[in-house]
Point group: C2
Chain length 340, copies 2
């Protein structure tokens, strides 16, 4: 039921008013016959007509100067840092950012998109929801300037900002192998997530198990929370099934660290995504760091350009990741000499 | 220039229309003479009249089902956890939350408040800005159901949710003294912040220095960032001026930990506000924990009740804090036995 979006012509026909008058109305002219103005307003509401903001905002004063952001979870430091970076760039350009989180709920995600469009934001930056990343985008992309971040969608014509998930994981896994690990476990979230599929692909560029049973015993993609990751790592430690841990997101890294603390011993570890306390732990935690500030900057500048009708070329940016080695990748740790 | 807010009578007079017609218009009746409707719409815009949402939303369908949240910094885990908790309760009640951060900028804060009201949110939850916490509230409190959290305002009649900052700090400082510290340093942010004034007051209930010079050498309220806190703690360590550190917010705690790592030795430490990695550090970091989930729940339920015209009694909730001792408060640490 992907209906054609209503046009200004439809509004004119419904209101029995000339196209020029409708155009003057939606562009903010105030000297319109109030009878006609009321008819146009009712037609716009009845049709759910959305004025093309990208074109309209070229006229000064017609823009809401608002950008909407829909992410998965405001309390996840990866997303809150991303939101902060986007907010900063919006602010530099005189725009405000409204942030909302959908908690990976497809229905709620659609509701947030609709609500932000109804609030007349000038553009949307969206992390697609895990279980159905594509459905919302077909509906949204003709209604509003749109940028997706972190995970792509299949709908064409959408600006997309991604990190090099596979490359970052490949480098981390290679380092763990270089440090002597034969059995590197992969602990991550659902493979419904693009980022997890990419990270697992990067891991498999290095770890190619001929033994399928071994591969199954070392690959875990059911860790949505830190506690779930912790349980998996505890079980690996108890059964001595792994030589090293690749934690495929910051939830899994925290979980692995909790498991080490509970079990009383550790394994070499690298996690995907940096976190503030990582350098303060003992050993300091090595990570694949995304350039979240840059991702936010590119996303914000792209959506602002589109909202201003500058129509940048639609493209997919893949930002490089960085392997930050701090000590936890090693088998032996250098001790606790900084502690008095 | 605190003008009387425009009333429905003012709209009726300006539009030369009866009060009943204005009332029917603002309550969504559609069978109004379009000429009158257009005149009313123009008068509402000219007067910047804001329909009393608390009363209006009793009628089903008239509510935007949106709540606005203005905090200091989305990327600070204290505020992002608070936002998450508020969002969850709003969601349970069928409301969506729009979160924005003002970065302690008074002008930006006012802009966010105005913008959220213009977006017709049903209610606002606000952390007042540091430098001028009161000015915005006089203007906002008659326009919209309002709850302030974390820091109070002087304007009367506003629901207020606070933590027991002084009591929590008093307990933490007493514990550091009990552990043998004579010179407990207080590291925090500006005393323009209500929370900092309260925490310093709690500290001073325990630490009463007769020697003013000593007091000045141990009280630091210029640490807005973790790096500024780190520099202060490094300098204390170098000059051996303190026996223990009370870090008055999570920025200062991270800063103290960075200083310990850089200096190669530590002091007994308790921080205000818990953070995810605190139990994973070595020694695990002791904190004064706020019940952020409960604070968010009370704030959300209060603003939703007010938005639905249930008019709860205006009151100030002070939520208790909890001293969580994990090891960092001690002079001697029990070692690193969990490390293999």
């Amino acid at each position: 039921m992907q209906a054609r979006p209503p046009t200004m012509n439809d509004v004119a026909a419904t209101a029995s008013v000339g196209l020029k008058t409708v155009s003057r109305f939606v562009n903010g002219a105030t000297n319109i016959d109030p009878v006609l103005a009321a008819r146009i307003a009712l037609a716009i509401e009845a049709l759910d007509y959305r004025h093309n903001l990208a074109a309209a905002s070229i006229r000064p004063g017609r823009s809401s100067k608002l950008i909407g952001l829909v992410i998965s979870d405001l309390a996840n430091p990866y997303y809150s840092s991303l939101a902060r970076s986007i907010e900063r760039v919006c602010s530099e350009h005189g725009y405000l950012l409204m942030s909302m989180s959908c908690d990976e709920d497809t229905e709620r995600h659609q509701l947030l998109i609709d609500r932000l469009i109804a609030q007349r934001v000038d553009g949307l930056i969206v992390v697609p929801p895990r279980d159905d990343p594509n459905a919302w985008a077909d509906g949204a992309r003709w209604r509003i300037p749109l940028v997706v971040v972190d995970r792509p969608v299949t709908a064409p014509g959408i600006h997309t900002i991604l990190a090099d998930n596979a490359g970052g994981t490949e480098a981390a896994t290679a380092e763990l192998v270089r440090q002597g690990a034969a059995r590197v476990a992969f602990i991550g979230d659902s493979l419904k997530l693009y980022t997890m599929r990419e990270r697992l692909a990067g891991y498999r560029r290095i770890i190619e198990h001929d033994d399928l049973r071994l591969s199954a015993r070392l690959t875990f993609t059911g860790a949505h929370t830190a506690d779930q990751a912790s349980d998996i790592v505890l079980s690996l430690l108890e059964k001595n099934l792994a030589d090293a841990i690749f934690a495929a997101n910051n939830r899994s890294t925290i979980g692995a660290l909790r498991a080490f603390a509970r079990a009383g011993h550790r394994l070499p570890l690298i996690g995907f995504d940096d976190f503030e306390a990582a350098p303060l732990l003992n050993p300091a935690v090595s990570v694949v760091a995304q350039d979240v500030a840059e991702m936010g900057r590119v996303a914000a500048e792209t959506v602002l350009a589109a909202a201003q009708g500058l129509a940048p070329l639609v493209e997919t940016h893949v930002l490089p990741t960085r392997l930050v080695l701090r000590g936890s990748e090693a088998k032996e740790i250098s001790g606790t000499e900084w502690l008095e």
